[in-house]
Amino acid sequence: MGAAGSTPGGASAHLISRALCIGVNDYNGVSLSPAPAQDARAVAEALGSCGWDVCLLLQPSAADVNRALSNLENALQTGAKALVFFAGHGGVLNGDNYFIIEGACA
C-alpha cells in the first residue's frame, strides 16, 4: 500500500476519473438547435470543476472520436471512473445503438 495520496481526496487521489464529452451540432450543413455542443461543453466544464480529467470534442470527425476513445482507454487506471457524454444524433443499426459523428442529410 502506497502513501495515502497527495491530496485529502485520500488514497483515491491517484485514481483519476476521466471523461469524454462529445457534441455534434452540424451534420453536413444541417444544424441542430439548440446546439448540442452547448450541452457537451456544460457537462465537460462541470466535470472538470469537480476534478475530472475531461476531453471535450466539438464537431469532431469519426477519426477524432476513435482516437480520443482509445486515449481514454489507455489513460484510464484500473479502478478509476469513466464517463462518456454524447449530444447529437443517434441511430440504430442491426439492433445496436450508435452515436452518429458525421453524416449527410437526406
Binding site: 441542430l32 469537480c50 454524447f86 443517434g90 441511430g91 453524416g103
Partner: protein, 599 residues
Amino acid sequence: MRSKALSVNEVFAKLSAKASMCCVWADAAREPALAYERSASTAHQKGLLAQNVPSNCLLALSCAPGCLAPSSARAGGADGEATGAFARALLAHALQPGQPLPAALAQAHDQLAQETNGRQTLWVCNTLSSTASAQSDALCLVPLAPAGDGAQFYQSPEDAALEAAAAKDAMSALDAAERAASLPAAAALLAAAVDGPASRVVLPRACLVLGRIAAAMAATSGRTSAEATAGFRALVAACRASQGTTAGARTGALELCLNATWAMSHLLALGGSTSSTRQRQQEAAVAAGCCESALAALRAHGAASASISACACRVVELLCVDSAGSCARVRDQGCIELLLSTAAHHRDGDGPACLASLAALAVLCRDVECRRRAVALGVIAQAVGCCSSACLCGRHALSACEALRLLRVLCQCPGAARAAALHAGALAAAVACLTAHPQEPQLAEQALWVVCLLTSQPSSPQSGDPPTGATATAAQGADVAAVQAVAAALRSHTATAAVQALACRAMRNLTADSRNEAAATQLGFFEGLVESVTHQRAGAEQARSMDARLEVAARRGAAREGGAEEALKAALARHGDGAGSRFVAAAAALALEESSIRA
C-alpha cells in the same frame, strides 16, 4: 454508417474492463435527419433501443427507448437556458458531492419529467448497485468533498463577519507557514485554530497545510519526531473537534475528519523506512492519541466515506508496523473488527478503502494475538472471498493483490492460520487469481508466495521447503490447474526475477506429487525452464532465482539438452568461487552430474 458512428457497445467494451464505474450519457434521440439514419432504422423505429450494459456500468438516455426528445425540451426552459433539459437535469443532481449516481438520476428523472410535462423520460440501465455499496463513494461521480455539508448550519450576519475577519488572518498565517515549509508553525496555527473564533473555516485548511508540508518533507529529507509531536497533538485535537456536538462542529465534520486523518498519515510517514526513526515517530503519535483518533474516525465515518476510511486505515498501518505495543493498543480498542468491517463494506473494486484496510490487516496479522483474533473473526474467509470476486469479474487486481499479501502473512506464520487458510480454499483462490490476472507481476508474486507456502512443509512454511513423504499431501491437494497457472506465470513474467524464483519453488513443491509432475512435463514446463536458464544472465542478485530453476532443472535431468549444459557450466564458473550463490554452484554441479550419468 459504422465508419462514421460510434457504437455504444464499443464504448462499454473498451472502458468497462478497467473502470470501477463506466457511464454513458446519451442525448441522441432526435428526429432522423440523415439519409442513412432513415434507411438503417426500420420504418417504425424511432430513437434508441433499450439495451443491457456490462457490470459496473450505467447507460442514461435522454428519453425512453423508441421515443424522441421533444423539440421544446431541447429549446431550454422559459428562461432560455443555453443547455438542453437532459443536461440541465443531470448537472443539477449527478455532481453533488457524496450523492450516489443511481439516486441522483432518479432525481434528474423527476426534474426532466417536470420540465417537459412528462413528454421526456430519462431512461437508465444500471448495473452499478450490484457491485458497490449504496453508501460508498464508489457510486458517486464526486466523492464527499470539502464544502458540501454545511446546509443546516445557521450563523448570524454579525457572527459571520467576526468569523470571516478571524479566518482571514489565520489563512494568511497558514499560507506563510506553507511557503516557509515550517511544520512547527503549521502545527501551532492548527492548535490555535481548534478553539479559535474561526475554527469551522480554519481547521480543515490548517490540517491540509500541515499534511502538505509533511508530504513535501517526506519527499525530500525527512525530519525527526520532535518536530512532529506538536503536529500529532494538534491533529488529534482537530479529529476530536470533528466529532463535536455543536452545529458548528457538525458542519464540515467530514471535511475536517478527512483532512486531519490524511495529514496524520503523512506526518507518520515522515518516520521513513528506518526502523529507529519510524519507531520514534510511532511513539510520538501514540502518545498524542493518534490510535484513538484513527479508530474514532473509522467508527464515525467509515461507512459514509471511502476516503476517510482509507486515510484512517493507513494511519493504523503506519502506527503498527513493527510495533507490538501499537498492535496491542489498537487491538484492545476493537481495531480488527473495524478493519474487517471496513474491508467488507468497501469490498468490491479496487477502491482506496478496500486496499488500505487489507494492507492494515496484513500489518496487524504479523502480531500473534492480532492474528489469532483476526482468524477467529473470519479474516481468511474475507481475503479468500476478495480474491474470488476479483477472479469472477476479471478485474480488481489491486484488491486481489492486497488480499493475497494478507493470506501470505497468515500462511507464513506457524500456527493454526496456515491450516485454516488451506481449509478455506486459499490455495485455489491464489491459483484462480494467477489464472484470471496473468499480466500482473505484483499479483503473480503474492499468489505464488501463497502457493509456495501452502504446498510446502507445514513445519517450515517460511522457508517454503518442498514437501516430502507424508507431508506431500498439500501438493496432492493442488490440481492440474495449479500446475498450469504456475507454468503460465513463469512464461509471462520473464523479466521479473522474484516471480521466476517463486514459480520454480512453487513448481518444485507441486511436482512432489507424481500426477502434477506428469502434468508439468506435458505442459513443457521443464523445457521452458531450460530455455530460461540458457538465456539467463545471472548476477548475484538473481542467484536466488537461479537456485530454484537449476534445482528443478537438475531434478528433471533437463541438462541433457546441449544449450542447458552450457548454461549450467557457465553458472558453475560464475558462482563456483562462492562469490555468488553456493546453491547455484551446487545445483549446476548436480545437474551436470545427472546429465553425464544419463548420457
